[in-house]
Amino acid sequence: MSRYIAQRLLAAVLTLIGVSVIVFVLVRLAPGDPARVIAGLLAAEEDVQRIRVKMGLDQPLPVQYAMFFGRMIQGDLGTSARTREPVLGEVLDRLPATMKLALISMTMAGIVGVVGGVAAAYRRNSKLDFVISVGTLFGISMPVYWLGLMLIVLFAVRLHWLPAAGSAKATSYVMPSLTLAAFSVALVARMTRSSMLEVLGEDYVRTARAKGVREQVVVLRHALKNALIPVITVIGLQFGALLGGAVLTETVFGWPGMGRLLVDSIFARDYPMVQGIVLIFSFLFVAVNLLIDITYAYIDPRIHYD
């Protein structure tokens, strides 16, 4: 087990280095001169050139990457061209807001999605199953923008129950979390349902029932446990989707997270900031999925890592 973890850690580090190369190249492939964007339309060309030099943009790309990499391994992600402040500090300022939303949504996906999926599978073809199926279809197909705005119109403008934007109050969390979670909850529910249906048809479930095991034990212990492996995988992958989804959700709800910072930084061609945010997103994604891989072993003892 520990050897497996060590291997995975090494792979994670290599993944992150790969990501750093890709993001470094990608931001530079996008057209547009960051120095000009930062200097503003009215700035004189000599000032633009000065900024270019100051940002190191006059250096050849490999040199720029080497400088970036050298600082990165020391934990320095550089200084934002747009805000003139250290990237790491800016990102850590925004990270909690994004993580809160992602974790609340992931929790919702895990609990509501699994419970809904189990219920739908257990009562297959019932009205409940129908309602859940329609609900999940809705959740999967609804654009985040539209859902968010509809919630705002209903709960803020019409009913005056919830704040339309911001993160200052406890109630501020309701609409962004719901919006962000909608897709994941629906996906997890559908996944759980189909996985459960498969397992419920297995011989050992019939055997368990035949020997008189209580129904709830059959469903939860014998069936669900085995049905969960693919579901856990999906939840882990959804974490990435939730971080990505945060970009839209944060924009709609004026949420002070990293998603919005990423968008602003892309439009400002703020290379250091974009690199920093993507690296940190990747780090989180890799970490969560490492965790998920490890939990497999606990859920299903047949899984061995050698």
Binding site: A39, R94, L261
Partner: protein
């Protein structure tokens, strides 16, 4: 099938389930332990976010609650450093805390602010400015000539990235004459200097002592300490900036104890906040909702005149577009008023000069009426029938920019000019229009041009051939020595009447030669609750709401 509820507690006894439950709990705990933090911290003034269920009824217990005026804007400030910010709206917010030396009113008249009065030497090279005495910064230090010198020197420091440095570069030296007097020595005459000092948000003044304060440094200021009617209180990046009234303000006290700027990038959400009563003023609602907002008795819509002129700049070096008849034809071909009415929902005013009427130096020209027949005739004379032109426009930079470009292309197609419109994000767009003429294949591009202050000087750079890329942003590459001469003389001419006339002459030629499809002056939409009064605008695309107060 039986459908008993599953008692979750029994699960906990099952060893094999511990792991799964553990995972769930970890996730949950992580979620929850992060979550209550903001809820628990009695997060700042409750009224900031109050979903306004019953605001007015609770009046009796009024005493302590600070009054707050809440404004939603779309832009999260890149920096609050006065000299380095590049965005009008950021300057607009900063000006609650920091002030310019002089004040330009809506008409462009220069009024005293931190500077009480001034003398200009006869040769126009020395400006002696006398400060208002007894004004202190928010940190209690004195606003004196030394402080002003420090600020202007910092503005001119080439190692800092001030977008206004180009404008103020003409200042060669800042001399401290006595405690409240300083003198600007110019390298050349520059009559718009006072207008620039008054109008540029980058020329606002902070306390030199505050650079050592937490979060601030000479390189960047995160908490501006100025002389303004409000004091920096709090900033949550990406969410809000809160300022509190400066009880020691030298001028008239504003009504509200606090002003909260909410950062809400999505226009529809800003609108919802306003309609839900969760903010008092917003800028730039979804433009297509303007008609509905105008009908709504709960809100007032102010379509503020501005200095942002929209044009479709012609690549005058292009073989076809180098013919003035073709360029004039394009102007006759487009029905600007129709586009303003149906695409901009009224948020525009047809240009009748190469600049906004709000600028010094404006003088109206005979309009290019919508006349497709005349356009066709001119095109025929120029032998330019059935031509194809490339046309790019940004998206979301100006009100209905890409949509307007499509409408323009529609009108052009009616006269046999096939313009294919494409769009790109702003940095790519700026990169694309700055390509030198020999490689440039963008025949037309939609561009907005907004000077920092109410003077023709910056506007006219758009027609100065020395400003063609890569030296500047004269992206039409228009070149007329006579115009260059007029513009450059006007820039230095100290006699105001003569200067105005020079700009008038230049405008006349430019208008005739039409390096742009002259489109409109954009109006800046400000929407506020009907229960507040005293909300105004400034033509530099700013709201003027420092002295807002309840309507009753």
């Amino acid at each position: 099938m039986k459908n008993k509820p599953f008692p979750a507690i029994t699960l906990l006894r099952r060893r094999s389930w511990l792991a799964l439950v553990g995972v769930m709990i970890v996730i949950l705990v992580a979620g929850v332990s992060c979550q209550p933090a903001p809820a628990a911290q009695p997060e700042q003034p409750a009224e900031v976010e109050e979903p306004v269920s019953a605001p007015e009824e609770e009046a009796p217990a009024e005493p302590k609650e600070p009054t707050a005026f809440r404004i939603a804007v779309g832009i999260d400030p890149d920096t609050l450093d006065p000299i380095q910010n590049t965005t009008t709206t950021v300057g607009n917010m900063a000006e609650y805390m920091v002030e310019t030396l002089l004040f330009a009113d809506k008409e462009g008249d220069i009024l005293p602010q931190l500077v009480a009065d001034w003398d200009i030497s006869d040769d126009g090279l020395e400006y002696t400015l006398h400060l208002r005495e007894g004004v202190t910064f928010h940190d209690g230090t004195a606003m004196d000539a030394e402080a002003i010198k420090w600020n202007l020197d910092r503005l001119l420091d080439p190692d800092l990235k001030s977008p206004a440095r180009g404008t103020f570069n003409v200042i060669e030296d800042v001399e401290v004459v006595d405690e409240y007097t300083f003198r600007l020595h110019l390298s050349d005459t520059f009559p718009p200097l006072l207008a620039a000092l008054a109008g540029s948000s980058n020329a606002t003044i902070i306390s030199p002592a505050s650079v050592d304060q937490e979060g601030n440094s000479y390189e960047t200021i995160t908490q501006p300490v100025g002389t303004g009617p409000y004091i920096f209180k709090e900033r949550v990046k990406g969410e809000r900036i809160v300022v509190a009234r400066n009880e020691d303000y030298w001028g008239e006290q504003p009504y509200y104890d606090e002003v909260v700027f909410r950062i809400v990038p999505e226009a529809a959400t800003r609108e919802s906040l306003l309609l839900a009563g969760q903010v008092d003023l917003i800028i730039l609602p979804p433009i297509s909702d303007l008609p509905a907002l105008k009908q709504n008795p709960d809100v007032e819509v102010l379509l503020a005149p501005s200095i942002l002129t929209l044009c479709s700049s012609d690549l005058t070096t292009d073989e076809v577009l180098s013919d003035v008849r073709v360029r004039q034809a394009l102007n006759y071909a487009v029905d600007k008023q129709a586009i303003i009415d149906s695409v901009l929902f009224g948020a525009g005013q047809v240009l009748d000069a190469p600049m906004s009427p709000s600028l010094y130096g404006y003088c109206p020209q005979p309009p290019y009426e919508y006349n497709p027949e005349k356009a066709k005739q001119l095109l025929a004379e120029a032998g330019a029938e059935n031509i194809e032109l490339g046309f790019i426009a940004p998206t979301g930079r100006y009100v209905q920019d890409f949509q307007a470009a499509q409408a323009i292309a529609g009108f052009l197609s009616e006269v046999g000019v096939k313009a294919s419109v494409s769009t790109m994000d702003w940095p790519s767009y700026v990169g694309a229009i700055l390509i030198p003429p020999e490689e440039n294949e963008l025949d037309l591009h939609l561009l907005g041009w907004a000077p920092d202050f109410l003077d023709a000087f910056q506007q006219m750079l758009q027609f100065d051939s020395s400003q063609a890329p890569p030296n500047g942003l004269e992206t039409s590459f228009y070149s007329n020595p006579e115009v260059d001469e007029l513009i450059n003389t006007a820039r230095k001419e100290t006699d105001s009447a003569i200067r105005e006339d020079l700009y008038c002459q230049a405008s006349e030629i430019i208008w005739e030669e039409a390096p742009w499809i002259f489109l409109w002056v954009q109006r800046f939409p400000i929407v506020y609750r009907s229960d507040v009064a005293n909300v105004d605008y400034h033509p530099t695309e700013k709201f003027a709401a420092i002295y807002a107060r309840p309507a009753k």
